[in-house]
Amino acid sequence: MSLADTQRDFLGQILASPAPTLSEGMRVYHHAYRARLLGAMAETYAQVWAWLGDETFHSEARAYVEQHPSTQWSLDDYGQDFADFLAQRFPDDPEITELAWMDAALRQAFAAEDADTLDATALMQVSDWETVRLILNPALRHRSIRSNAPALWRALSKDETPPEVLYFEETSGLCVWKTALASRFRTLEADEYALICALAAGQGFAAACEGLTLRAADSDPTEQIGAWLGQWLAEGLVTGLAGTETTS
């Protein structure tokens, strides 16, 4: 048997579920594989664990591990599809998959590229707003949500009693990013989130703004977008400007 065949057979015994009859030595490897992946998931998905409780979380994580062999060298990257897995398992409880997404996104943001915040005076130097592009925080992750998962997550992370779970008719946006080495998150109402999605997809600032139709018909788009831009700079969601000459 070639070395590769021996290794395929060996790994096959480790991955087999339920466990075949194995020697004590092979049982050590069979057990260690699951313990290691479950440990990684417990570390990443701490608030989902708190929300689901020990029994349900461990049962779901075990089922996930058996169905999802690891394909990455980094253990930190394991379990990235757990939110989608939970969405299938709990289709009527969107807060569960949204909590899982938050757990994973906050962890990814923590290890993402660092970026300095941009001083608001940088905007004064933009000479051509038609061509300027906003560089978003490199740690930014975002998705739409329809529950109050951020409030649940915040309470769970502080060991506080979470508020009652709420589901909304209209989806909103949830952004996760990092400033000063700390991961952070914020919920965005639909218009602001639509603009962030356009910018994150690579659109220039002017084009993204043109594509935006504010739902609040009586609000002044220029004023509203200006207010968002100021907030994005202050909270480090926008970290740079590109694609334009700036006046000195």
Binding site: A4, Q7, L11, E24, V28, Y29, T71, D76, A111, A112
Partner: protein, 277 residues
């Protein structure tokens, strides 16, 4: 050819997150830190900032767990690129990984799996060590693993395999005495024969660690204080390893820093020549 790996005699600890605050607040009296390379092969974040501050005060050794030198594929380009980036950032004492494989056919066990000790495995491991050493432009240190099974087709002893690896590739050794102790118990060989059979002059680093007991096997869990049997091995071999860097490797159930510093004092004391008065 790349330069040899210089000896560094000293006593150190693993850099682990539960100790970050204590280490930054009051740098402990040790000679070096070892990092798990993969924990820092990331794009940014606090761990890298902590590492930079630690590196400003201490030499750092890089120790990997995912190189998979014994699998047909070996380490992939993304892994090597990130390892190289970290190496340039750290300027480490050396870069080490294990005599093992971690996965095959795109599946990863995240474990240090045992190799059949055959000519085919020798050829595979040598090929990957050569490739990595050329890429990094420096020799690697290879660590002996704890194992729980052996293969009927083995034609080498583990110490014979490591000795031949050093000869063929110019690599050095990271000698884990707990792993020698565990594997000697599990497979019924003599730990002393193992140590006598190794080219100890190629050892640049020593790991001291604890283990736990299975049904009949010992299991390398790195979650317990160093047991008497491992201390006894260290006391016996220490005079022949005075050129090596020695550290306590604790990866789970990590105690407060002073407890590990006390264990390190024991390692120092056992390595000191006995003075009769």
């Amino acid at each position: 050819m790349f330069p040899s790996v210089a000896s560094f005699a000293g006593f150190g600890l693993g850099l682990r997150p539960p100790h970050y605050e204590a280490i930054l607040a009051s740098p402990p009296p040790i000679d070096f830190f070892e990092i798990i390379s993969e924990n820092f092969m990331i794009d940014g974040g606090r761990p890298l900032h902590v590492l930079d501050r630690v590196r400003a005060d201490y030499p750092v050794a890089m120790h990997g767990v995912s190189m998979s030198l014994g699998s047909p594929e070996g380490p992939g380009p993304d892994y090597l690129r990130r390892l190289h980036t970290l190496m340039r950032r750290v300027d480490p004492l050396w870069v080490s990984d294990h005599l093992c494989w971690t996965g095959v056919n795109g599946r990863n066990s995240h474990d240090l799996l045992p190799l059949p000790l055959t000519e085919a495995a020798m050829a595979t491991v040598c090929r990957h060590i050569d490739r990595v050493q050329t890429f990094l432009q420096r020799p690697l240190l290879i660590e002996n693993p704890s194992t729980y099974v052996t293969f009927a087709e083995d034609t080498y002893t583990e110490w014979g395999f490591l000795t031949e690896l050093c000869r063929r590739t110019g690599c050095y050794l990271l000698l884990d005495l707990n792993n020698v102790f565990v594997s000697a118990h599990n497979h019924g060989f003599s730990a002393q024969a193992y140590l006598d059979g190794l080219p100890l002059e190629r050892v640049r680093q020593v790991h001291l660690a604890g283990h736990s007991e299975g049904e009949t096997l010992l299991i390398d869990t790195h979650d317990a204080p160093i047991p008497d049997g491992v201390w006894a091995l260290w006391a016996k071999v220490a005079p022949r390893l005075s050129h090596a860097a020695v550290m306590i490797e604790r990866d789970d159930e990590i105690p407060p820093l002073p407890e590990l510093l006390a264990e390190l004092d024991t390692a120092r004391r056992l390595a000191s020549p006995v003075v009769y008065v």
